[in-house]
Symmetry: C2
Subunit: 432 residues, 2 copies
C-alpha cells in the first residue's frame, strides 16, 4: 500500500496557527482538482481507499488499541469506549460504507433546472461543489472515512479534525483515504486530517483558515455543536438538539399510534430522531392515553407526565417545565395531553428544536395543517421520527442533519454538499 | 389610505439598541403569519401596496424633495442625486414592479423533489420561507418597495434600513407597503423600515438582532458590501465585485465577438454584469484584436492593454497589474492577449470575482471546458455578460446577485429567498 502521509510528521505542533494555515492552503490547492475530477476518477479513488482501509486493518487495530488504552486509563465511560472501539467487522463496515458512497450517482454537474428564454438563451442551473469542508468530530474514528468520502464524492476537499482520543486510529484511516486519492491521480491533500491534539486547531478552523474553509460540520455531542455554532465565522451544517415530538391526534388509530410511539422513542434512544415528547389529543385521551403510556412503561421507558397522564398509570412521574425542552437521548419520555391541533402545533413550536416531528392521524386535513405549520426540517404523517436519517431518505449516507434554514436543511447528503452555478448557452445574444 | 406607521414615531432614537431589539421581536412575531399566508393574501397585500404607493405619490414627492434638498446641500454628486430622485414616472415604475412581483408564481410550498421509498414512504422536499431578511441599502428609495415585495412574496418578513439620505422618501413608501399588508389582513410588521439614521442600527442588524435575522442583503456600493461581509454574524447574500471577463477564443467569429464585447462593456457600464477585462486568444490576435479594440475605442471606451494590444492602436494606454483586478464600472476596459484556453481560465480564476464570465467561440469543446472550469456564479457561451440579471433569467425580479457558494448563487429571486423542509407521508411505517 502506497500510504501518503497525512502531513509532514515533523510539523511543529507548537506552531499550531502556522500548521493550520498550511493545511488551509493545501486544501485550497487540492480543491480545484477534486472539483473538476471526473466521476470515474473520484469513484476509483474511493474504491482504492476502501481497499486500502481493508489492507490497513492490522495497522488500524494496532492504533486503535493504543487509543483505547489511553481512553481507559483516563477513565472514559463504557459508551465512549464503545464509540472509539474498532473491530475487524467494524473496519469492514467502514470500507463498505466508502464503497457505497462511491456507488452513488455523481451529484456534480447535475442540471437542477433549465430555463429557455424568449431570446433563445438556455440557462441551466448546474450543481457544483461547495469548496472546502471542515469536519470536526469526536470519538468515532469511522467519521474519518465516511465524512471524508461524502466530501470527496461531492467534489469537495475535506479538512478533518478528530477527537484527541481517536487521533491515532483516525490517522491510519486518513492515510488510507489519501492513498486512494493518490492512486487515482487525485491530490491526496483533498483529504487532510489535522495531525495535532491542540484545541487551538478547532478555533482556527472555526475562523475559516484565512478564507480556505467554506463550511464547517460538527459531528459530536451538544457541547461541541454549541461551541461551533457560537464561534464559527463560516457557515455551519448542524443541529444542536433533536427534541422530536409525536402528536397523537384525535383521528389517530390506536394500534398505529402505539407502534409509531414505541418505535419513535425506543428503537434507538441515542439518535437525534428519537422522540422525546408525546402529545396526546384530549379528545382521545380516554381511549388512547393509558394504552400508549403503559406500553411505553412496559417496554422499559420512564414516563414523565402532566396531571392527566399521571392519573392513568401510577408509574408515571411528574413532568416539570424543563422536561418539555429536554432531549433525553435515553429511555425517558415526556407526555402531555393537549386540547387539539392548535395547542399541539404551538407546543412543538415553543419547545421543539425544528428537527423532526410527527403527527399520527387518519384526518388528512389535520395532517396537512401540522405538516405545513410545524416549522421543522422534517415533518411526518403516520411514520416514526426515527426515519430522520439520510440513509432512510435514500441519500446513501449523510454528513449530518441540519436544522438551520440556510442552504441545507434536514439530512445533508452529497447533493446538499453542493452549490450550483448558472450555465448560459447563447448564439451571440446581446442585451437590448 | 389607511397608512400604518412604520414604528411608533416617539421611539427614542437615542436608545438605538432597544429600538432595534423591538424591531427584531416584531419581525419574528409577524414572520409566522407571513410564512403561513395563503398566496392570495400575499398577492392582495402586494396589489394593495402598489395602489397605496400610487395614492401616496404626492407625499412621496414631497418627502423626496426634502431628501433631495439635504443631499444637494451636503454636496452629493449628480449621480447620487439621480439615484435618490423620484418623479411621477419613477413612482409609477415602483408600483408596477410591486404588481409584477405579485404576479409571479408563489414559491412557497412548491415541491422541489419527491422520493418514493421501498417501504412506501413518500418524501417531498417542499419550499419554505427563510424567515426574516434584513436589507441594508443606500440612496435608491425604490429598494424599499421592490426588495420588500420580494421578501413578502416569498413568505419572509423584511427589516429594511435605508440610507440616511433617502430615509424620508423610503418612510412614505414603507408606510404604503405596510398599509397593503394590513388591508389584506396580514401583519404590517412583516415589513419594517428602521426609523433612524443612527449608524449603530446597521451594526445591530449585522449582529442578527438577538437571533431574529436569518439573512442580510446589502444593496449598495462596495464599501457597504465590504462592511457587511466583514462584520455580519448571519449569512449574507451579496457580491463584492463584478470583475467580469469576455474571452474571445481562437474559434470566435469576429462579428459575434465584436457585438458581444461592445454590449458586455458599454450597454450600461455601471452594472455589476458589465465586462471589465477582454481576453483575446493569441491564435486570432492577428485578425480579431485590432477590430475589437478599435470598435471599443470608437465607441468611446478607454482601453488599457498589454504590449501586444498597445501595438494595434495608439489610443491604447498601458495596463498595469492592478488593472486586471479592477471593476471600473465605467467606460474603461483592460485588454490582454492570452496563449489559449488554459491561460484564459487561469487569468479569470486569478483576477476575477466569480461573478459572471463569458467565452465567445464556435468550438463547443472549448466552451464546455470554460463553462466547467471557470468557477463563477454565471458562465456564458456566446452571450453578453450583461445578461447577469434576475429579470433576464426569468426570475421576475431579484434582490441582488450572490457570489458566495452557500444557499443562493447568482441572481437571488423569490425562489432563492426560500429554504425547504421535508414532508414525509406514511401509512404507519416504523423503522426496523
Amino acid at each position: 500500500m502506497n500510504v501518503v502521509a497525512t502531513v509532514p510528521k515533523d510539523a511543529a505542533e507548537t506552531d499550531i496557527a502556522g500548521l493550520m494555515r498550511q493545511i488551509g492552503l493545501r486544501a485550497k490547492a487540492a480543491q480545484r482538482a477534486i472539483m473538476l475530477a471526473a466521476p470515474e476518477a473520484k469513484n476509483a479513488a474511493l474504491m482504492a481507499a476502501a481497499a486500502a482501509i481493508r489492507e490497513a486493518g492490522p495497522a488500524v487495530l494496532a492504533a486503535n488499541a493504543l487509543d483505547l488504552a489511553d481512553a481507559r486509563a483516563s477513565g472514559q465511560t463504557a459508551a465512549f469506549i464503545d464509540r472509539l472501539l474498532l473491530t475487524p467487522a467494524r473496519i469492514e463496515g467502514i470500507a463498505c460504507a466508502v464503497e457505497e458512497i462511491a456507488s452513488l450517482p455523481d451529484p456534480v454537474g447535475k442540471v437542477l433546472a433549465r430555463i429557455e428564454r424568449p431570446n433563445g438563451l438556455v440557462i441551466e442551473r448546474v450543481a457544483t461543489p461547495l469548496g472546502v469542508i471542515a469536519v470536526i468530530f469526536e470519538s468515532r474514528p469511522n467519521v474519518t472515512a465516511d465524512a471524508g468520502a461524502l466530501c470527496l464524492k461531492s467534489g469537495n476537499a475535506a479538512i478533518l479534525r478528530a477527537g484527541s482520543d481517536s487521533l491515532r486510529t483516525s490517522s491510519v484511516l486518513a492515510d488510507a483515504m489519501r492513498s486512494g486519492l493518490a492512486s487515482a491521480g487525485l491530490p491526496a491533500d483533498a483529504l487532510q486530517l489535522v495531525p495535532s491534539r491542540d484545541r487551538a486547531a478547532v478555533g482556527a478552523m472555526l475562523a475559516g483558515l484565512d478564507g480556505a474553509v467554506d463550511v464547517v460540520v460538527p459531528r459530536g455531542g451538544k457541547s461541541l455543536v454549541e461551541r461551533v455554532q457560537r464561534d464559527a465565522r463560516v457557515p455551519v451544517f448542524a443541529h444542536l438538539d433533536g427534541n422530536c415530538h409525536v402528536y397523537v391526534h384525535a383521528g389517530a388509530d390506536l394500534g398505529m399510534a402505539r407502534a409509531i410511539v414505541l418505535n419513535a422513542k425506543l428503537r434507538r434512544t441515542g439518535v437525534c430522531g428519537s422522540a422525546e415528547t408525546l402529545l396526546v389529543d384530549r379528545a382521545v385521551a380516554e381511549t388512547h392515553l393509558q394504552p400508549l403510556v403503559s406500553a411505553l412503561l412496559d417496554a422499559g421507558c420512564a414516563v414523565r407526565g402532566d396531571d392527566q397522564t399521571r392519573r392513568v398509570d401510577n408509574r408515571v412521574s411528574e413532568a416539570i417545565e424543563a422536561d418539555w425542552g429536554t432531549e433525553y437521548l435515553d429511555a425517558i419520555i415526556a407526555v402531555k395531553v393537549v386540547g387539539g391541533l392548535d395547542e399541539a402545533i404551538a407546543h412543538v413550536e415553543r419547545y421543539g428544536s425544528h428537527h423532526t416531528d410527527a403527527i399520527v392521524t387518519a384526518d388528512s386535513a389535520a395532517a396537512r395543517r401540522f405538516l405545513a405549520e410545524v416549522d421543522s426540517a422534517i415533518v411526518l404523517h403516520n411514520a416514526s421520527t426515527q426515519f430522520a436519517d439520510g440513509g432512510e431518505f435514500g441519500f446513501g449516507g449523510e454528513i449530518g442533519i441540519a436544522t438551520g434554514r440556510m442552504h441545507a436543511r434536514g439530512p445533508v447528503g452529497v447533493e446538499q454538499l453542493c452549490s450550483y452555478k448558472y450555465r448560459v448557452l447563447g448564439a451571440g445574444q446581446i442585451r437590448p
